[in-house]
């Protein structure tokens, strides 16, 4: 790789251990993927925040980075953690809270914002064609496909290295030629609600590997609905982006048709739960302001049944903007949890065995990460079984 003189100085250790280590990570990854240079980024988004999924392994590394003056050079947001500061904090044992706080402290020392969300795009606008280094696969697909911003699918450590250097190696879909679709997906199924878009994503992720599809036949969908497709396609596959509409693929590209049977079968596979749900969960990925309003409207005048927990997850940022909706949801007996992701929280320790959700991504992960059965259903059905 071709490095500038300043980049070389960093590489040789003249700017301290943290910068040197981060530069080595970027250069080595760049060489691995055939990059010729580093390019500046506008922002980074770092995953690997929940103590539940991380364990103790990274804490010392993060502390050492912070101790040796590792500081982010660009706006850097953080993924959700394993509990929220209100509701779950009272329920989760103390010994699991301290290491989580320690992880957040180290990130804070390095200058990352405590955004604690998987939807950083609700916090800051991204310019079309701007370059970023984001981990959190659902946000990567959303940024590339819906917002037209450019980011590879980083891992937690490489996104952090990019944040501290302020650059990323120029490979993958940072290059215009690599963003062209190379497979056509024709959706013949009627996707009547966003949960079906999620099921489509789960199906396509398994089928496409790392190919970039042009998807035709989608209904008129909002960005919020497309979020379900983004999250799900990244859950089962390595696809970094998709196109919608009629963008032409290279000649002779493969064509895939998806019919209603395939969507229904995918939903059945994801929806293995047979028991009554003890948690109904909305907000994977984190709810937008519009989604908070929709939930508040549907919950108006009703009460959450005593036999079920009802969680809505979002960022503290959206929570503040949605204060009136939050009030309505909580008055009805629901819990709006901010900064936490149900999938990486300690649900199994709270005795939760069956999770009902509108998110195909959550339904996919619940059996392994939450040791829970999943019931996948549209938001309206989720609320129907929650409320009396």
């Amino acid at each position: 790789m071709q490095l500038t003189r300043e980049e070389e100085r960093i590489y040789d250790g003249e700017r301290g251990w943290a910068n040197q280590t981060c530069m080595k990570i970027l250069v080595r990854l760049g060489e691995l993927f055939g990059a010729e240079k580093l390019i500046p980024i506008d922002s980074a988004h770092v995953s690997g925040v929940s103590y539940k999924t991380l364990g103790d392994a990274p804490i010392e590394f993060l502390r050492t980075l912070a101790d040796s003056d590792g500081r982010v050079k660009v706006r850097t947001t953080l993924n959700p953690q394993s509990l929220d500061s209100q509701y779950l904090r009272k329920k989760v044992e103390e010994s699991l809270q301290e290491p989580q706080l320690d992880i957040l402290r180290q990130f804070e020392r390095m200058g990352l914002t405590q955004s604690l969300t998987c939807t950083p795009y609700y916090l800051h606008r991204l310019a079309r064609g701007s370059h970023h280094a984001w981990a959190e696969s659902s946000a990567v697909v959303y940024a590339n496909s819906v917002l037209g911003a450019w980011t590879n699918r980083e891992g937690g450590p490489s996104a952090l290295a990019a944040a501290i250097i302020g650059k990323t190696p120029d490979y993958g879909i940072h290059r215009a030629g690599n963003r062209r679709p190379n497979v056509t997906v024709k959706v013949e199924a009627k996707l009547t609600d966003p949960t079906k878009l999620g099921a489509l994503g789960i199906f396509l992720g398994k089928t496409l590997g790392d190919k970039i599809p042009t998807i035709t036949g989608l209904p008129n969908t909002s960005r919020d609905d497309l979020k379900q497709l983004c999250a799900a396609i990244a859950t089962t596959g390595m696809t970094n982006m998709f196109h919608t509409g009629s963008k032409t693929t290279t000649e002779g590209a493969e064509r895939i048709c998806v019919d209603s049977d395939q969507i229904e079968r995918t939903i059945e596979e994801l929806s293995g739960g047979t028991g009554k749900p003890d948690l109904v969960f909305l907000g994977c990925p984190h709810c937008s302001l519009d989604e908070m309003r929709r939930i508040a409207e549907l919950i108006e005048g009703k009460r959450v049944r005593a036999s079920v927990e009802f969680w809505v997850c979002t960022s503290c940022h959206v929570r503040r903007a949605a204060a009136a909706y939050v009030k309505r949801i909580e008055e009805a007996g629901g819990h709006v949890l901010d900064g936490v992701c149900t999938v990486v929280s300690w649900t199994e320790k709270l005795g939760i065995r069956t999770i009902m959700t509108n998110s195909a991504k959550t339904a996919y992960y619940a059996p392994t990460l939450n040791k829970a059965e999943a019931v996948l259903a549209p938001m309206e059905d989720c609320l129907e079984s929650t409320l009396r």
Partner: protein, 116 residues
């Protein structure tokens, strides 16, 4: 030496450096101070942090030889300061061989074959 990929998150016990992935042919083997030969890593990027943690506790491998490099192991080897080389025909190695690795030159040499 294994022809199976290794996931450092969940596949290696950070407390003692033993491979704990159930169906792995090296399951139960401690990687401490060994030259670890395997095709490539797989699984979560948190695996890079696990490699750092192992090395800090003195439980890390002495060196890593991979058939193909993958981001998890590449990043882990950098932060844990473990010499690593890739694009090596790992079929040439046998468990028990005495091997020399020069990470900076990217060379591995079999010094002595395992006595069979």
């Amino acid at each position: 030496m294994s022809i199976k990929p290794i996931s450092f998150l969940g596949g290696v016990d950070p407390a003692d450096g033993k491979i704990i992935e159930k169906k792995h042919d090296l399951c139960g083997t401690c990687i401490k101070d060994k030259i670890l030969v395997f095709p490539h890593g797989h699984g979560s990027t948190v695996g890079s942090y696990v490699m750092y943690s192992l090395a800090k506790k003195g439980l890390g491998p002495a060196a890593i030889i991979n058939q193909t490099a993958d981001p998890v192991v590449v990043v882990g080897a950098i932060i844990a300061n473990i010499p690593m080389i890739d694009q090596v025909d790992i079929g040439k190695f046998r468990t028990g061989d005495t091997v020399e690795v020069d990470g900076s030159k990217g060379v591995a040499r079999i010094l002595k074959r395992r006595e069979s």
